[in-house]
Each structure stands twice: as C-alpha cells, then as structure tokens.
C-alpha cells in the first residue's frame, strides 16, 4: 500500500526527517506516535505531496508519487488544524469539495451523525473549534478511498462525537482500508490501533504491534510504554 524509502527532509537548518524506511502492506489501523516536532505531520504531508522530500522515495499502490497528483483521489485526509476559508458557509464548503473531487460521496448521513444540520448555513469563521473539527471529519469521511490519513482526529471533540468517530474509523477498517492516525491521546490509540510506529527526531524507533511495544518496554499501558521509549530506557 505505502512504501517509503530513505526519506529525508530539512526545513532550513532543522533536519526533520532522517532517513525514514517504512512499508505498510496489510490493511488495518496504524498509529504514528512521537513527541512534538518528531516529524509526524511532515511524514504525512510528504505522503500527500504537500511537503516535497529532499531525498528518498514514496510509492502508493506500487507507483511513485513524485510530481503526481491524481493519486490523491485514493486518499482521504483529515488535516491537523481545520483551516477553512472563513467567508464560506458549511454547505458551500461541502459542495465545493464534492465538486472538486468529483467522486461518489455520502455527506448526508455524516451530517446527521454529527448533528451538523443547524450549522449548515453558518459561516466557517463563526464555528467553534469542535464544530470545525466535525465539519473536517465530514469532509474526510464522505468519500471512499483505500487510504485514510487522520492527523490528530480527536482534537476538540466532545465524548459523544468521539464515540461516533471511533465507530466511523472501525467501519472504515472493516472495509479493508489502510488507516494512518497520529494522536497524542494514548487511550484512543490503544483502543483503535493495530500497529504502532514510533518516531523520534525524524527516525523510526519502533514499528510493531501494541503488545510488542508493551513487552519490549516491560510496561502494562501504552502511555507508559511510550514514555519509556521516549526516555530511551529499555530500548
């Protein structure tokens, strides 16, 4: 599905990615973890072609993505901070994205799932952070693509919406999709993820299942395991 080879990226003097090698073959949920500034978002943006790597290659479904754009039809992406054009109404934004992607979409059920009907005619600047995130989720999940990338999907969500989100994610997984998630909420990761990739200072320090992570660090919870791996003990 995704194959990354020796990926390097530097922003100015700051070396963000230092030779990432990663291969994801099987469908399932993969959590990308790591402290702030470890290169999670840069990695994801490289896959999307928003950041152009200095060295290395990325292929999705056996084809290199360099200088290509059509492959993004096969990705559903949820950006970290929902930055939307403020002068648009929610309804217009959804219509616009549908028009731009020209793919089959199902926004109605998602809108009712997150109870967004009263906000449809409101401008995006007037929405609260949580509501914006719900709109963001609708925009991501209304399409049907084999690869799903979620950057901090839980931010700003209330418990009820969080349950809906988890249900959505598990539905996508049942469809046999590959789902990449970054999150700082370990409880959420423990609940949904099959595999964990741990990034530290732009390199992969751990790649395996949650149980392997716990065994390797002799910890009982993911939270402590991650803390242990960050401090460099038991690794």
């Amino acid at each position: 599905m995704i194959k990354i080879e020796r990926l390097h990226k530097k922003f100015g003097k700051n070396q963000v990615l230092r030779g990432i090698d990663l291969e994801i073959e099987k469908p399932g949920i993969i959590a990308v973890l790591g402290p702030n500034g470890s290169g999670k978002t840069t990695l994801i943006k490289s896959i999307l072609g928003m950041v152009i790597p200095d060295k290395g290659s990325i292929s999705i479904q056996e084809s290199l993505i360099k200088k290509k754009w059509r492959y993004r039809e096969r990705i559903q992406y949820l950006p970290q901070i929902a930055n939307f054009p403020g002068n648009l109404r929610v309804r217009e934004l959804i219509k616009m994205i549908k028009d731009l992607r020209q793919q089959e979409s199902d926004d109605k059920s998602l809108i009712s799932l997150f109870e967004l009907e009263p906000f449809l005619d409101k401008k995006l600047t007037t929405l609260s952070g949580g509501t914006k995130q719900k709109v963001n989720i609708v925009l991501t999940f209304m399409f049907n693509a084999p690869l799903v990338i979620l950057d901090e999907p839980t931010s700003g969500l209330d418990p009820l919406s969080l349950i809906s989100l988890k249900k959505l994610i598990s539905n996508e997984r049942k469809k046999g999709k590959t789902i990449l998630i970054t999150s700082h909420i370990m409880q959420f990761v423990e609940e949904v993820a099959d595999n964990v990739i741990y990034l530290l200072e732009g390199a992969i320090h751990f790649n395996g299942t949650i149980d392997e992570l716990k065994n390797r660090t002799n910890q009982t919870s993911v939270e402590h395991a991650v803390a242990a791996i960050t401090k460099g003990t038991n690794v």
Binding site: M50, W69, N83, F84, L100, R101
Partner: protein
C-alpha cells in the same frame, strides 16, 4: 484550473473591494469626460492615472488575496488537483476580477459618451490593453513575492516597495543617470532601461500611439527614432507579453517546489 478560477473569481466578485475599484473607475471616467469634454484628452489624463494606479491596486490586491486564501490553498493542496492549477486558477481569478472592474468601470462612461462615433476608439482600446497588461504583470509579480515570503508583513513590504520602485524611484534613477552621463551616447541605454520597467514601457507605448511629441520625453523620442512608430508599438507590446509571461512561469516553477 477552471474550477479554481471559478471559485476565486466568484469569491472576489462577492467582495466589497471589487465594487469599490469598479465604482472608482466609473466615477473617474465620467468626471474626466465631463471636465475635458473631449474623448482624446480624457484618454491622455486617464493614461497618467492608469499607469500609476493599476500597478498599485494589482500589487496590493494580489498580495492580500494570496495571504488571505492560505487556508483555501492548503485545503486544495490535499485534493487531487495539480499544484500549478491551484495557483494559476487563483492568479487568473484575481487578475480576472480586477480586469472586469477596469474594463467595465472605464468602458461604461466612454461608451455612453459616444466612444464608438469618436476617432479615439483605438487610442482608448490601447489604453485598456495596456491597463490589462499592467494588471496581469503586477498581480503575477505580487503572487511571486507572496509565494517566496511566508511572513505577511515582509511580503506586503516588498510588494509596496516593488510598486514604489517601478512607479517612482526607477524614473528618478533613470533621469539622474541621464544627467550624470550626458556626455556619452545614451540611446541604447535608455531604450534598455525603458524595457526593464513595465510602467515606462506602457507609457511609451501609449504615447507612441497618441503621437504627442511634447509628452514623449527623451525615451519616447529615442524609441520612436529607433523603431519608428509601428515597429516601436510592436516591440513594446511584445516586451509587455514577456513581462507577463516570465513571472507567471516563475510562479508555476516555484509552486512545484514549495512545502506547505
């Protein structure tokens, strides 16, 4: 590209500033015609306004639009759309809405004054052509500045400086160098210097067509002597096209390499 253009264009058409810009030209056109009572004279006055104002408005509009639509751009970048289509679409949207304001704002008063019966119709259309070129050139230049500068304040500063340089400082330096080096033959130098400034180029172009020797100035005279009226017109038009194409080309190249 067309879809991005459509969204940018209609977004701008809903904005108040497009109307302000349109109304400004509408009022300017009517006032000039009312005061001059003559289409040809109004065209000359208008030229002086357009040559300074169009670059200023296009630069400011372009840079503001780019920075304000950053979120929109980021949203689009994750969609299956070519990068060049995103930026070209936005660029065409901005320059398109500015052109519409310019052409309608000036067209309505002149047409209602009886432009089609007057002999000045070619002069007037040349003025619109030059105004359109300046709009495209300076919008493209401002997009170039914006894409190279993440910092809004810096980008805005450079954009205003660019306009100030092209519209005011360049002519001052040019005149000064003519005085300092007056003992040398300066024909080639002054022709070259004119070509490197789209505002000077536009001015020369219009004055060549209007054939007003008093306003032609040194550059114009040299230009006319060198190329003759028709060749001079063709050369300066060609150069204006180059002036438009080079920043657009750089914008496309730069947009391919940028990280978001």
């Amino acid at each position: 590209m067309f879809k991005i253009f459509k969204y940018s264009f209609f977004d701008l058409m809903r904005s108040r500033w497009s109307y302000v810009y349109f109304l400004f030209y509408l009022i300017l056109g009517f006032v000039l015609l009312f005061l001059n009572n003559d289409v040809s004279k109004a065209v000359i006055t208008l030229m002086n306004v357009i040559i300074i104002l169009v670059p200023l408005i296009s630069t400011i509009f372009g840079i503001m639009y780019y920075y304000n639509s950053k979120e929109f751009t980021e949203l689009l970048l994750a969609q299956p759309i070519r990068r060049s289509s995103i930026f070209m679409g936005q660029f065409l949207g901005v320059s398109g809405s500015l052109l519409l304001s310019l052409v309608l704002g000036l067209g309505i008063p002149f047409v209602s004054y009886g432009l089609f019966k007057s002999t000045a119709i070619f002069d007037f259309s040349l003025l619109l052509v030059v105004g359109s070129f300046l709009t495209i050139i300076f919008t493209a230049l401002s997009f170039n500045i914006a894409i190279s500068n993440e910092n809004k304040i810096k980008g805005f500063g450079y954009a205003v400086l660019l306009w100030l340089f092209m519209a005011v400082i360049y002519d001052g330096l040019f005149l000064m160098s003519l005085i300092v080096f007056e003992e040398y033959p300066l024909d080639t130098f002054s022709i070259a210097a004119t070509m490197f400034n789209p505002i000077d180029l536009s001015r020369t172009l219009i004055l060549l067509k209007l054939d007003i020797s008093a306003l032609l100035g040194y550059t114009g005279a040299v230009f006319k002597g060198f190329f003759g009226t028709n060749l001079g017109l063709m050369t300066s038009l060609l150069l204006l096209i180059l002036w438009a194409l080079i920043p657009i080309w750089r914008l496309i190249i730069k947009s391919q390499k940028k990280d978001f």
